[in-house]
Symmetry: C2
Subunit: 292 residues, 2 copies
Amino acid sequence: MFYVIGLGLSDEKDITIRGLEAVQGSTRVYLEAYTSILMVQKDRLEEFYGKQLIVADRDMVETESDDILRGADKEDVSLLVVGDPFGATTHTDIILRARSLKIPTRVIHNASIMNAVGACGLQLYNFGQTVSLVFFTDTWKPDSFYDRVKENSDLGMHTLILLDIKVKEQSEENLARGRKIYEPPRYMSIPQAVSQLLEIEELRQSGTLDADTTLAIAVSRVGGGEGNERIVAGTLSELRDQPETAFGEPLHSLVIVGKKLHHLEAEYAESFAVDAQLWRDVAQRVYKCNFD
Amino acid sequence: MFYVIGLGLSDEKDITIRGLEAVQGSTRVYLEAYTSILMVQKDRLEEFYGKQLIVADRDMVETESDDILRGADKEDVSLLVVGDPFGATTHTDIILRARSLKIPTRVIHNASIMNAVGACGLQLYNFGQTVSLVFFTDTWKPDSFYDRVKENSDLGMHTLILLDIKVKEQSEENLARGRKIYEPPRYMSIPQAVSQLLEIEELRQSGTLDADTTLAIAVSRVGGGEGNERIVAGTLSELRDQPETAFGEPLHSLVIVGKKLHHLEAEYAESFAVDAQLWRDVAQRVYKCNFD
């Protein structure tokens, strides 16, 4: 059996019992390290699971899938992924490959940011499509995300924005010389994300986003528990002007609040507000929330 | 500490290690039985957890929250919910109440249908807002869901439709006489859901849904593993005309495929198709998918 196992959002204890049993019964266990970063080190996972883990970067999962799948028709092999196997990044390629090799597969689900974002108090029902925001450079500012945010916004829906992560990035020089030397990982911060959003709004001028009247919620290390998870709500300008330390370590995601905001959603999120009075004022005046 | 713990989607082994530890350290453990139904009985959960569970229906969670929260400032109390605490139904009320009583709370996330639906092969990125479909009666056919499906469809997005569940339903007579006697639980089937969708399309005539050219995927008992989870893909008429047994036991959800369908999504789902040739034909001809 080939297992694809979601690890959930935070640390070694977020695996499910079913997932742990599969890990412990597997001959080989791969740990995918690519789109997202667990808030825990590999050796701590190994100690807790009582198993050695083979780190598989995304390249390996894509190009060496037959190596990973080797023998999985006769014994159990597991691939561990952060979040859910069908969360923000899917693992359909390797499952399709397993199918074509007649290897039975089983997916063991877990939480992902796509549902855990509900922790900010906004109803998942009221979210439209999820978008990704990549690091802008001086010459490359891909802005198709803006159309998606606008589509959601026009319907009054909230938008979950997943912020870019750069791992295994090569400098131009190392890339040119074919040297497999990688830069330290980079994670987009909330202030940077908001700045990029407002930069595109400035260009497009559709009125979708406004520094002072668009509400947003920054969600950091969701599922990380007391003292680790952090949720900060405010206007876009408030979030942009926070020091980056206000949000703590990665990973961060950003939610743009849609106009159908319900007063119960607003009330729940108010406890996370930079300025509760301003939050409530904008929710009432701009979002037309009726508080009791 | 007051814990709200997601149980995941299928059975007693879907709880996380962190969740299990919280359960085992709690003085009282409540099991919420309302919007969704775990595929396992209470006594099996109790045996596995080594704890007695107190069943709390939604009424109790809403109206007797102070009883549930009693003492949670000094000892640990857990509330178990199917899926994720912030999945399709949120548990914000009782958390707000705990906050106002100065009781520390922690949410332990898990998979919910909102992310596990990715198992059908469609990318979560390409889903718009989620909708609920309730049982029609002769005199009450609430159709606001149709506007949401149309909004998603106009943007090319997929729609996850959660099908109605009736638990603790009273007959008119029992209701009139104030007798707390409840009917057996009812779960909307896939054929019934499709019939209701097409009934509203017939009334509205917006061309959003078409029996023969709209693709959809029925997702049953997702996360239930081999021989339990079932995914069936086809045109709306194909799904409507399947015997109800084709989808097995509850719970069932339905995905309406949006026009931005990517050929890799279509290929993945093709293995679930009632008729692979027809699936591929509609995906190419109507959805303009380019298969290699």
